[in-house]
Symmetry: C2
Subunit: 528 residues, 2 copies
């Protein structure tokens, strides 16, 4: 268990990351780099919240849900499908295994979870970008999973590996995204059995932020580990977390072979698993908040504690993906009150388990980055920070229920993430913050625009949005009545045009490319 002391040089807080990289540090290979301190001129690599959390359940409510979850674990049980090893491990650990259904004696999962770290570091190849997972830290990562993009021409189409690289580059440049994420979009132009190699390589090559591994098959998880060993060194990987990996439960109450296979690879290699019930309430869980929370807790207890059966001490997160379905159409809905209540409650349950928590992001169901998209995203994102979320996937670019990675929405979200980061710094109560000298200088009936305190502090006083238009109506008219997505498109293109990647040791780069080539040669292309 270790923590990081974030560095926040004010003067660079508003600049894209590309302008701030320190070539010397970024160019060093992972092994060495990951041990040294942060470099100069780097913005805060993650949020350390100075404010408290918001909670929606009292002690009595929390205990009720915990008791009910224990009842589910013991009486109903959780299925571990098509995985004889998992069943054997659970039997050996003292669970009552009937077929593929595992029934857990009260307290077994909690006891196992005691070996999981409350806080840990996920290392980036640039150590200044390593992130703390857990405690008061909040880490924002981009959207995960969409097969489509809405591109800079406004066309909705299948995503490609070029889109994938673009989102990695944009994430690298965005100061408010602390993590490169994983499947920022699904590059469907690359064979399905090979694309994980290109995806992992893109995160390693085009960014120096921490990233996620492949979970779609155990051998793809193994490939991720092998590539991490090339980048960071085998011994470093075995002793440190260098990938975070999304392990979804098949709610209700099932873990399948694929996810268990990936989980086992990562846990065995001391890498972090985010055990996440993927909940569309009303379909995968009851239509109530408390019922959904109970099921989520049971599923996480089973899945997260399983990582400790594989390797005690392996980092694991309490994950929650919460949405509802429309009871009229069956469509998923986002940013509504009930999933917010679920996530706030789940954060509380995670803190009591003393493992880091993942939820939220900038979720929405809208097809375009309009006010619906923004309201739904804002409702999710405000909750994400106030709940005390440690790792927030889908924080930028998510559109259309996660079917689409949107360039425009990505830029709009990144701006909002910056506001969350500023908010989390709380209230400055220093003498400068108190500003009594300014109030005395200005006095009744005057204004503060020119006073000494304003002159000295206005540069860093207020968060400066990169996209909001606050000009006069007349000026806005003269500039063509642009909407925020129009401005986002222009800014996005300018970021992509000005992208300069972090250096990567040519020997490591070569070794990675050789590994990928050899792995690709070993398999025929598969597209389904």
């Amino acid at each position: 268990m270790d923590t990081i002391d974030p560095q926040i040089p004010e003067e660079t807080a508003g600049e894209p990351a590309a302008g701030r990289r320190t070539r010397g540090v970024a160019g060093a290979a992972g092994r060495r780099a990951a041990r040294s301190g942060g470099g100069p001129g780097l913005s805060q690599p993650f949020i350390m919240r100075k404010l408290g959390v918001y909670e929606v359940l009292d002690e009595e409510g929390l205990q009720l849900i915990e008791r009910n979850a224990d009842k589910i674990l013991e009486e109903i049980g959780i299925e571990f499908r098509d995985d004889a090893e998992a069943l054997r491990l659970w039997k050996d650990a003292g669970a009552d295994v009937r077929g593929e259904r595992v029934h857990f004696p009260v307290g077994l999962c909690r006891e196992l979870l005691k070996t999981a770290p409350e806080v840990f570091t996920q290392h980036a190849r640039n150590p200044a970008r390593s992130v703390q997972i857990g405690g008061k830290a909040t880490v924002f990562a981009p959207v995960y999973g969409p097969p489509f993009v809405r591109d800079l021409e406004g066309v909705r189409r299948y995503a490609t590996i070029e889109d994938f690289r673009n989102f990695v580059k944009l994430t690298y440049m965005a100061p408010s995204l602390h993590h490169s994420g994983g499947t920022v979009c699904e590059p469907v132009d690359v064979p399905v059995n090979k694309r994980h190699l290109d995806m992992v390589y893109s995160h390693m090559k085009y960014s120096d932020k921490p990233f996620m591994g492949s979970v779609t098959a155990p051998e793809r998880a193994e490939d991720t580990i092998e590539m991490c060993k090339i980048l960071f060194g085998a011994e470093f990987v075995d002793q440190n977390c260098v990938t975070l990996n999304l392990i979804n439960a098949n709610s209700p109450m099932v873990f399948d072979e694929t996810m268990l296979g990936a989980l086992k690879v990562y846990a065995r290699n001391n890498q972090a698993c985010v055990v996440s019930p993927f909940i569309l309430a009303g379909a995968m869980s009851p239509v109530t908040v408390a019922g959904t929370l109970t099921q989520i807790l049971a599923e996480v207890l089973a899945g997260a504690s399983f990582t400790q059966l594989i390797r005690p001490g392996a980092p694991v997160l309490f994950g929650t993906f919460a949405a509802s379905i429309s009871m009229q159409s069956g469509a998923p809905t986002f940013g509504t009150p009930e999933p917010s209540l679920v996530s706030y409650g789940a954060a509380q349950l995670a803190r009591r388990l003393k493992i880091p928590f993942r939820t939220g992001g900038s979720l929405c169901g809208s097809k375009v980055p309009d006010a619906q998209a923004a309201h739904e995203s804002a409702a999710t994102l405000n909750m994400t920070l106030l709940a005390g979320t440690n790792f927030a996937l889908h924080s930028a670019g998510w559109l259309e229920g996660g079917l689409v990675s949107s360039y425009e929405k990505f830029m709009i979200d990144v701006d909002q993430l910056g506001m969350q980061q500023r908010f989390a710094e709380g209230v400055d109560l220093s003498e400068t913050g108190q500003a009594l000298d300014a109030i005395a200088e200005v006095g009744p009936g005057s204004h503060y625009l020119g006073c000494a305190h304003t002159q000295a502090n206005f540069q860093t006083a207020f968060y400066r949005s990169s996209l909001a238009d606050n000009n006069s109506y007349e000026q806005w008219l003269a500039e063509g009545e642009k909407r925020i997505e129009d401005r986002a498109r222009v800014l996005c293109q300018s970021w992509l045009d000005s992208y300069q990647g972090p250096e990567l040791d040519p020997a490591i780069d070569e070794a990675l490319l050789a590994y990928i080539a050899s792995r690709k040669d070993s398999m025929p292309d598969a597209f389904t």
Copy 2:
């Protein structure tokens, strides 16, 4: 000091209010109506928060700001301009008055404020719509003040009295707006010295929700009181709050003749004043959160305690309008982190003063209801509820920094207010909420769509947005790729088309119209 027990019949929670009015109750005159209980079939008239508040300052920080505010009050002082009566009252109360500058001995304002109620009722002519101001109650009111509208043809133009009536009607029909507000737009087609009569009448005639009075001149405040006496009866008005009135401080540290004149009329008549520093931080206050909070507290202490010099026991609110200015262009900005921190902190200061608190709403700087408008509004609105705000002006329809009342944005905001109201209900921990029977019935690997618990509860399970599109992409395409503002426009027109007003006793209506006619006849038209 009294409170109201809100009634929430589930079956009507999603319907516009017009379908739910009870003619008998609504038709009764104010005097009688204001004393009886709520009628059947009425939705909750305001929010009673079952969840806690979010706070950004600790005890030490609060005391620091309070000490600094006391220092401002004593050493710098607050100006009460062009009002000899105010200066005399302050002198008699023990303040040190030098010219128009009033210096307050430490503790004087707090001592005076002890006679102000912590919680009170603002009565509506339909008692089922009376609202609690203070405590755990949150009351949403529409936008206040814009001279322009963005109409249903998408045209931005000066507002008219017809627009005014439309917004009163829409507010009447919106279940999540608990209050009719005040200047929902500025009807510039009516002479400036007469329009307050038409505005107050519109609130009385086209709605039966509580409303705000005119504050633009003392005689217009007197007209408001006279019209209230016709509607509610003179004795009832003297003993109860029937109007809420917006008294802005001229920050920094000035109260002017106009606002003091209106304040005195309302306080003398036992009506509520919302003493609100109108702050664009960086111009009217220091560029820091703590400095802004300090000045706000000083201004509110001076202005709010002044109401108690006029009439001890008169209801008064701690108001805060917080925005920042762009230090580059000087333009106001909304929905950014710093004003949120200011408002959260101000709510805490208000609770310590034991008077109700007003802030927030759905503020934005955008010219159109796009994602900028939504993000800025959401940031403001989420804070509004979580801060524990008691009265939230500008909750629906605010666009372009308050220059425009937007029909489309109004409908989008109303939908979001409904979500806030649902969120504030918190987590149902009843047996139905726990849903253990559902989890047992469904079991691992199945789904909840058809289970008995879902069938019994799905109707009320999730907040149902009136505007979000969650259909498939293909269906959305087929329906013409509509954005949320397109759907809002259609819904708005259908509300206006189906509006049915609450009945108003014809004798009262006639008396109101006669009063208005006589007052209008007594003055020449003025347009500036």
